[in-house]
Every structure is written in structure tokens, then in C-alpha cells.
Symmetry: D2
Subunit: 135 residues, 4 copies
């Protein structure tokens, strides 16, 4: 499990004074990138080391309580295999100790061919073990 946090900025909120919800997906993507970075990877490194990209096939979020400008948002991230060719990234959002929402992404594992085209493939086991260390 990986933890990160963001502070909700003025520009992230709408006229109702609460987070404009697409921003939660921006933070989900950011948190996944931060997880990669914390494990010594990055989109570019994944490309170089595994010849792969991880396109999103599904994104989902449930919102249970409003969050506002200046609130700190604590995010936990965990990764699990989803079938053979996909993995799922789960996110939990807490603010001031209270859960404000949760969500997930499903990402495919796709290899980049010599012509630049990408093609679905089984998730690389080494890649997977880097994202889901036994702790």
C-alpha cells in the first residue's frame, strides 16, 4: 500500500465550494504516477525497461462526503492483478480522518511493437511485483 497526499487548491473547487469531481481522477492518475516514481519507475522508465505502456480501460469513483478548498486529501493506493492482461489500482480518499471517497482504475498492459503500435499482453510479473511488494 502506497500513501500520498494533495492539498485541495482554490482552482480545484466549483461554485458550490466543493471539489469539481473530475479532479479526483486527476489525483488518481497523479497518485499512480507517484507510486511508479516511489518504486524507481515512471511512464518513461516503464517504456524503456518493459517496452510497455499501461492504458486506462476503466475509471470509477464513489463520492461519500464533500471536500473543500484548503483540505488535505490523504490518498492510499493499492495494486492487484485483474485477470491476466490487466491490473487494478484502488484509491481511498480521506480528509481529516474521514473518508470522502474511493475509486479505482483498470489498466491494461500493452507492449510497444517495432512499428510503434501497442498490443495487449500478459502483465509482466516483474512489473507487477514492483508495484505490489510483499510487506
Amino acid at each position: 500500500m502506497f500513501k500520498t497526499s494533495v492539498t485541495i487548491e482554490w482552482g480545484d473547487c466549483d461554485e458550490a465550494g466543493i471539489v469539481f469531481y473530475p479532479n479526483y481522477f486527476y489525483w488518481m492518475d497523479c497518485s499512480f504516477q507517484r507510486l511508479l516514481r516511489a518504486r524507481g519507475l515512471s511512464q518513461r522508465e516503464v517504456r524503456k525497461r518493459f517496452g510497455a505502456v499501461t492504458p486506462i480501460t476503466q475509471a470509477h469513483a464513489d463520492f461519500t462526503a464533500p471536500a473543500r478548498y484548503d483540505d488535505a486529501l490523504d490518498i492510499t493506493v493499492s495494486v492487484t492483478l485483474e485477470g491476466e492482461r490487466r491490473f487494478r489500482v484502488d484509491y481511498d480518499f480521506h480528509s481529516g480522518g474521514k473518508r470522502v471517497g474511493s475509486g479505482h482504475e483498470i489498466r491494461a498492459f500493452a507492449l510497444i511493437g517495432a512499428d510503434g503500435a501497442i498490443k495487449g499482453a500478459p502483465v509482466n510479473p516483474e512489473f507487477m511485483s514492483i508495484l505490489t511488494p510483499a510487506t
Copy 2:
């Protein structure tokens, strides 16, 4: 069913040259606002006429094909009741006649009290019939 469209802008795409996915949720919200507007409503009008707001409780999207800068995205929107106190807004995204994704939002119907606090309530039938005209 309501139809609208957007053109995918340079700033909507990421380094991979495809739409950065949180933007789909921005377009979902925009499309709902446009539907309200096309029916003579708006967030402010909903507030005035029904004393209500429609907070998001769930958002979901499935991505089936990439869409790129300069592509026109055709969006269809349809609204259905979801239980007594919520409604669901379904979105379909097509580009060049091909489906690139779909998604939905679940929105609660909430009345604004005298103190400004909001409280879940049965979806107003008049509001619902405006969003789902028999055609």
C-alpha cells in the same frame, strides 16, 4: 436522448497523444449542464425553481478506443431514475462514427434548507420529466 459534441483540444491530450482521461469526466459534466440548458434549466435555475442541487455520488467510465487532438467527440446523454432519491446520467462517446467510450454519473437530488444545508430528498417528478421527455 440529448446530443452534443466537443472538439478535442491540444491541451486535453497527454504526451502519448491521446486524451488525458479525467477530461472525459469534465465533458460528462459539461454535457449534463448543456442538457439542463437545452431544457431551459441550469444549476442556478434548478436551485431557484426546485430549491435543489444534484451532487454526484458516483462516476464511471469505460474506454474502448483512443481519441486524439482535433477529433470531434459526439456525446449522447440519457437520464433515468435510480431508486427514489437518485438519477443516473448515461453518456456515450463516439468519434468518426466509432465508439471510443461510455460512462455514467449517479446524482442525488438534495433540497437546500433554510440554513443552507442540503438534505437528500425524492427526485422531483417535474424535474425528472423535464430531463426525460417522452419522445
Copy 3:
């Protein structure tokens, strides 16, 4: 002079109910892309036809009146040469016939070398005449 317009969306406004100002720069960039498109060009076409990109070196905006959710924003765009190697794109924003702001971008003209690196160059006269037709 090129004209385009956008509708200010719910998610474009902040808690004060007015446009969160970085969005004006997003619309400036969009308007420039629309101008390119209207002239049969696009970032990709500029790259192919002129071997060039047009990186931003300066962006500026003055805000004279607030604009709000649901307002239509009418944007006029005009392009002029700025020295030998740059051009300037001016933008005017009106809403309901009233000027709400104005701004400009300065963009360099840069050729893409065989190694992919870009290098400043005199603005291609054909490119310039496409963006500034005598009318």
C-alpha cells in the same frame, strides 16, 4: 481576424462563481488551434508542411470584468509578426457585448531538425500569410 466562442462551464468557475483565470489561457490556446484548423492547418499539419512547431514564449492577459458559468464568451483572434522569428496572437474576450478581458501570446517559429531537436528560425512567410490573410 478570426472569431470563435466558448460557453463557460460549471467546472471552469471557482468558489467565487467567476472564471478561474488560468482557463482564459486554455481558451487562448484553443482559439489559436481553431484558427489553425479553420485555415486548413493543425499542429500536426504545421509540423508536416513546414517542419515547424510554434512554442509559446510569452502569455499575458488583462481581466476587466468577471464572466460566469453559462455565459457565452466571444473571442476574436488576430496574428501579427513580432520581429523576424516570432509572431504575436492577440485575443479579445467579450460576453453579452461587453469586453471582459484581452490577452496575447508570443510564439516562436522553430524548425525541427533531423535529430528531433528544435531550433528558432525566421517565421515562414507562407505560414504567416495563411494566418493573416488580407481581407
Copy 4:
């Protein structure tokens, strides 16, 4: 002088692999909010304590070098009085010790009347001294 930093996220970059420039203005606004927060203020606190808001009247940026996904951006912020009724916030952006850009905002000081309307006023000296401590 106040210092803060952001990490450039995947979604902040465009197809060219560099920051989509309107994001610099988002970071400028965020940095100003962080400065307020670091001084024990916030937009809401400014409203409560000084009965004031600080609307933007001008925003400007110069871009001198590209910044990319995963780069840390170090931002310095300084505030100076600009005439009697406005103040100027200057921003410097460095990445890896190299300057990549700079910019400023000009903000008006405006009092909120009993009817909610705002009206330009001399910048409150206490507010100003909080933002520009003698060091």
C-alpha cells in the same frame, strides 16, 4: 520571499511532452494560496478578517526553457505594492537549478459590501505587511 514546489504530473503535459502552458498560471495561483496559508491566512480568512477579496486584474508569464513530466518545479513568490489599490505577485520557476520561466499577477484589493458587491479599496496595510515581512 516564499518558496514552494510542485512536481509536474503526466496530465500537465501536452503531446509535445512539455508543460501545457496554462498550468503555469494554475501553479501561480496555487503558490499564492500557499503563501496565504503559510502566513495563517486563506481566501476565506482574508474575507473574514479583512472583509476583502483579491481579484486578478493581470497575469503574465515568460517561458524560457521547457519543463517536463516528473520534473520538480521550484517556485519563489514575492509580493510588492502596485499603486495604492493593487499588489503584484512575482513568481520564478526553476527546475534542476535552471530557470524555466517567470511571471506575475496583479491583484486588486476589494472590500465586500453589505449587499455582497465588491468595491476596490486601498490595500489594507496589515494585510500587506503579513505578505511582505521584513526579513
